[in-house]
């Protein structure tokens, strides 16, 4: 009788152990080229839309200023660091601002999510630049960033 119960118990235990599987989970630090392409391409799309909400000419009180980060003439590694700094700058100074026109920059929206995922695979943490650095309006920051992302995209495309 005990043997029967033991056998049944083993059978139930074996059959009820959850199966853990993954469907191509991403474990490498460097994603496939086509995912880099997807992330950067989506970032271009989202930046183009976001820039439309921030025309060059705005009343002074509506201007948002961000650090004038070096965005052109960068090699691949420098650009990875830049994108990490951009994410921090936008997250700290824009993502939480009140107003519908800042919705593009919320951390649950695609612009920030694509930037975040790109950085997770490239540079997760980066040294923030000095706060005393020169500042430029958000419109100019985004335009410079768009050019840099387009450059990165062309190199993986």
């Amino acid at each position: 009788m005990m043997k029967t119960i033991l056998l049944l118990a083993v059978a139930v235990f074996v059959s009820s152990t959850p199966v853990t599987t993954s469907v191509k989970p991403h474990t490498d630090k460097t994603p496939a080229r086509h995912t880099d392409k997807a992330l950067l391409g989506e970032l271009v799309d989202e930046l183009i839309v976001a820039i439309k909400d921030f025309p060059k000419v705005l009343p002074k009180e509506k201007l948002i200023f961000l650090k004038d980060l070096q965005m052109n003439g960068l090699d691949h590694k420098e650009r990875e660091v830049l994108f990490c700094q951009v994410e921090q700058e936008l997250k700290i100074k824009v993502s939480g601002l009140f107003g519908a026109r800042f919705d593009h920059f919320r951390t649950d929206k695609k612009l920030m999510r694509n930037l975040n995922m790109y950085n997770k695979y490239h540079v997760k943490t980066c040294k923030l630049t000095d706060e005393k650095q020169d500042k430029i309006p958000l419109h100019d920051f985004l335009k410079n960033l768009l050019a840099s992302v387009r450059n990165a995209y062309s190199q993986v495309n």
């Binding site: 029967t4 056998l7 074996v14 853990t20 989506e42």
Partner: protein, 222 residues
């Protein structure tokens, strides 16, 4: 003693047979890269969808978004199916799923967004044009444009209605139309056309469901 042992083995086998043990192939999930994630559970030993659900955890930036997907029987496919609406998809974001029957955990499965994209089925239209050819156009069913839509391609398949031989043509979604040359077809014949869509985001590994069939008829003389 031997008959007791046989009885033990028999009971063990009965238990193994009756205990539902899903495999990774039984659980399939797809996303349309817009707002919808659909999952299906299929198994010959799955008697009822009742009580089965999928807890889904999706890491968005630094926040875990949680969804519960409750399975129901699909009478067309006889599978258990469920779907959830997601606030947009990003290529490398991860969905962790836990398949439950009641409170009993049956299976864990992880999906990376780009790997399980299954685009929406296209909606086809065929128009006869002045030169006698047939202009095929389609609606990819997506609202926005951009890199994802440029990465789609459509696989058109047409052939004689009731026939066995088909012709397949693949074109980028951005082309927006395809012309079937009438002189390559038989005169006074009914043809049928279907299509699927696939994406470069996962190397076109998962095609969409097949579109609805459209028919066109060639002239008596071509």
């Amino acid at each position: 003693m031997f008959s007791t042992f046989k009885c033990q083995i028999f009971l063990t086998l009965i238990c193994i047979a009756l205990c539902y043990e899903p495999t990774k192939e039984d659980l399939k999930c797809f996303n349309d890269y817009e707002t919808e994630m659909k999952c299906s559970l299929s198994s010959e030993r799955l008697q009822s969808c009742s009580g089965h659900k999928l807890n889904i955890t999706h890491l968005v930036f630094d926040t875990f978004e949680k969804y519960t997907c409750i399975f129901e029987r699909n009478h067309h496919s006889d599978n258990c199916e469920c779907n959830v609406t997601v606030e947009g998809f990003v290529a490398t974001e991860i969905f962790n799923t836990t398949l439950l029957e009641g409170s009993n955990v049956l299976l864990y499965k992880t999906f990376m967004t780009s790997d399980f994209i299954k685009p929406k089925s296209p909606v086809l239209s065929v128009q006869k044009i002045e030169n006698g050819n047939f202009n095929v156009t389609w609606d990819d069913q997506y609202e926005k444009n951009g890199i994802f839509f440029e990465a789609l391609r459509i696989n058109l398949t047409y052939g004689i209605k009731g026939g066995h031989k088909n012709i397949s043509k693949t074109v980028p979604n951005t082309v927006r139309s395809y012309e079937i040359v009438a002189k390559n077809l038989l005169p006074n014949t009914n043809y049928i056309l279907t299509a699927t869509m696939s994406t470069d985001y996962n190397d076109h590994s998962i095609p969409s469901d097949q579109s609805a069939t459209v028919e066109f008829t060639t002239c008596k003389s071509i």
